[in-house]
């Protein structure tokens, strides 16, 4: 496919050289349809080439093994001062997958909380937030670390920041699926412990690469503050209604289970009445209804329990 693309680009270039006189024949004041079509096609071919060239530029950063990914995920939550000769080979597969997982968890939370968005879709919003935070905060950290003279380049910061988002995924996942009586306490505990571990890990790596002690502290605080505040934002913006919704959902399930059972029982009662062809309806309905209450009460008690 790439060979085809190269052949096509050489043909395009040749045709460009041939058609340049035609494309620039605008002195009559009226561009011909052919020239408009040709320039549009050439621009699109250029964009396609740039896109493929960018893919090739990113390819070395996706050269990892699954074991390496698992090791890095575990190390993202274990803070330790990195040794000076340690060279972090940065890769982008792990961070991208973590950001996608975060977007998926956000979509699930928004669906559960029936969060409605005016312009755009829920899915668009969650992708925007996840990717926007990852790339935006990495650029912010990269700018501040440039000022503080840190020995970290953008790709390494993207990698570090992405792996730190693993703590966000873990905390939101646990907070969404585990509902106890003390939901807020659980979240704050997880926020401090898991979020804190990842923040400290990122902070130590960044601080180890900064020489000036004052800048070191400043950058460390900046990095951990962004990390912790984003987790708080995600929880309060998208998870707030989830617990009330889930409690309402379980209550609704027990209440509505009774009604169909009673309706069914009455249907059975009516069928029995009609099949037996008893003349006195009111007398038999009274009998049937007393029978049905005796029949229903164990059922109601079993569904409530």
């Amino acid at each position: 496919m790439q060979e085809n693309l190269q052949r096509r680009t050489t043909i395009n270039n040749n045709n460009n050289n041939n058609n340049n006189p035609q494309a620039t024949s605008l002195e009559s004041g009226m561009p011909s349809v052919g020239s408009i079509v040709w320039t549009a096609g050439r621009a699109r071919a250029q964009q396609a080439i740039n896109f493929y060239a960018n893919i090739d530029y990113l390819r070395p950063y996706f050269d990892v093994e699954p074991k390496e990914i698992l090791r890095r995920l575990l190390h993202a939550l274990t803070p330790r001062w990195p040794s000076p000769e340690e060279n972090i080979k940065s890769e982008l597969y792990g961070p991208s997958m973590i950001v996608f997982t975060l977007a998926a968890i956000l979509i699930y939370q928004m669906k559960l909380a029936s969060h409605s968005v005016e312009d755009g879709t829920l899915i668009g919003t969650s992708f925007l937030i996840s990717f926007g935070y990852w790339i935006g905060s990495s650029f912010a950290i990269s700018s501040v670390s440039f000022v503080c003279n840190t020995h970290l380049n953008l790709i390494q910061i993207l990698c570090l920041n992405g792996y730190a988002l693993f703590s966000h995924c873990l905390v939101l996942f646990l907070a969404t699926f585990i509902h106890t009586g003390h939901d807020h306490l659980l979240f704050y505990g997880l926020w401090c412990i898991v979020g804190g571990l990842a923040a400290i890990r990122m902070m130590l790596v960044v601080m180890a690469r900064t020489i000036n002690p004052r800048y070191r502290v400043l950058l460390g605080l900046f990095v951990s503050a962004i990390h912790m505040f984003f987790l708080l934002y995600l929880h309060f913006a998208y998870h707030e209604l989830a617990e009330t919704v889930s409690h309402a959902f379980t209550n609704e399930a027990t209440v509505s289970a009774d009604l169909p059972v009673i309706a069914r029982a009455y249907q059975l009662v009516d069928a029995v009445t009609q099949s037996q062809e008893i003349a006195d309806d009111s007398h038999n309905n009274f009998n049937m209804s007393s029978l049905s209450t005796e029949f229903l009460s164990p059922i109601i008690s079993s569904t409530c329990n």
């Binding site: 058609n19 699954p66 597969y93 996608f100 829920l122 289970a257």
Partner: protein, 215 residues
């Protein structure tokens, strides 16, 4: 009209090139099917789509889905799935909900194809849209069954049954897509390519499970 023609003829270099390219030999095959009746074309395309549905339901060792890809099947499946998953009948949000599934499938397919290309696999964007779309068939059947089951009483038992049906369909879908897409990757990196597919189908399954009917 003749003035325009003379104007175009004066810039004749482009006209020669256009005349030269239109009758190129690479278009011979497509030109030969241009004269057949439309019913023949529709029948042929429909048979191809139905054959691919069969491949998606019962995954066999064949490369039909990858080599002869088409986008009709994914379009039909995603449209039907989007209609089934609409839960709000007000006009304001129903459009957004319909668009959600399309956005999800489009973004998911794009990301999965970029990811597998970056990991060294040899698959194009349209091939991956084709495979992912066709493999949605079991989940569509589960969504349809789900919608039917939602009209029955016995809610608490029903949740468990619905969950089991959708999870079975999810496992079936994953198996089918791994059979088709797994072979485009090196064995050691297969898990890396499978994880985004797992995430994508898991999200669609949860959207089906969370679907509540409109009241």
């Amino acid at each position: 009209m003749s003035d325009d023609q003379s104007f175009f003829l004066s810039t004749s270099k482009s006209i020669e090139i256009i005349e030269g390219n239109i009758t190129s030999t690479s278009n011979q095959n497509e030109l030969s099917t241009l004269d057949e009746p439309i019913i023949e074309t529709v029948k042929r395309d429909l048979k191809a789509v139905l054959r691919k549905f069969g491949h998606a339901l019962i995954p066999r060792q064949s490369s039909t889905l990858l080599q002869q890809w088409d986008l009709w099947g994914p379009l039909i499946l995603v449209t039907v799935l989007a209609i089934l998953l609409q839960s709000d009948t007000t006009t304001a949000s129903s459009g957004m909900q319909f668009a959600e599934i399309f956005t999800l499938v489009l973004i998911g397919s794009a990301m999965i194809s970029i990811n597998s290309q970056l990991l060294g696999g040899k698959i194009s964007f349209f091939q991956s849209v084709c495979v992912l779309g066709y493999c949605l068939l079991p989940l569509l059947i589960a969504a349809f069954t789900n919608n039917l089951l939602l009209y029955l009483p016995y809610r608490s038992m029903l949740h468990i049954i619905r969950f089991l049906i959708v999870m079975t369909a999810f496992a079936w879908t994953m198996y089918a897509s791994i059979r088709f897409l797994g072979q485009t990757q090196q064995p050691s990196r297969r898990m890396l390519a499978i994880y985004p597919i797992f995430l994508f189908y898991f999200l669609v399954s949860w959207l089906i499970i969370l679907h509540k009917p409109s009241k």
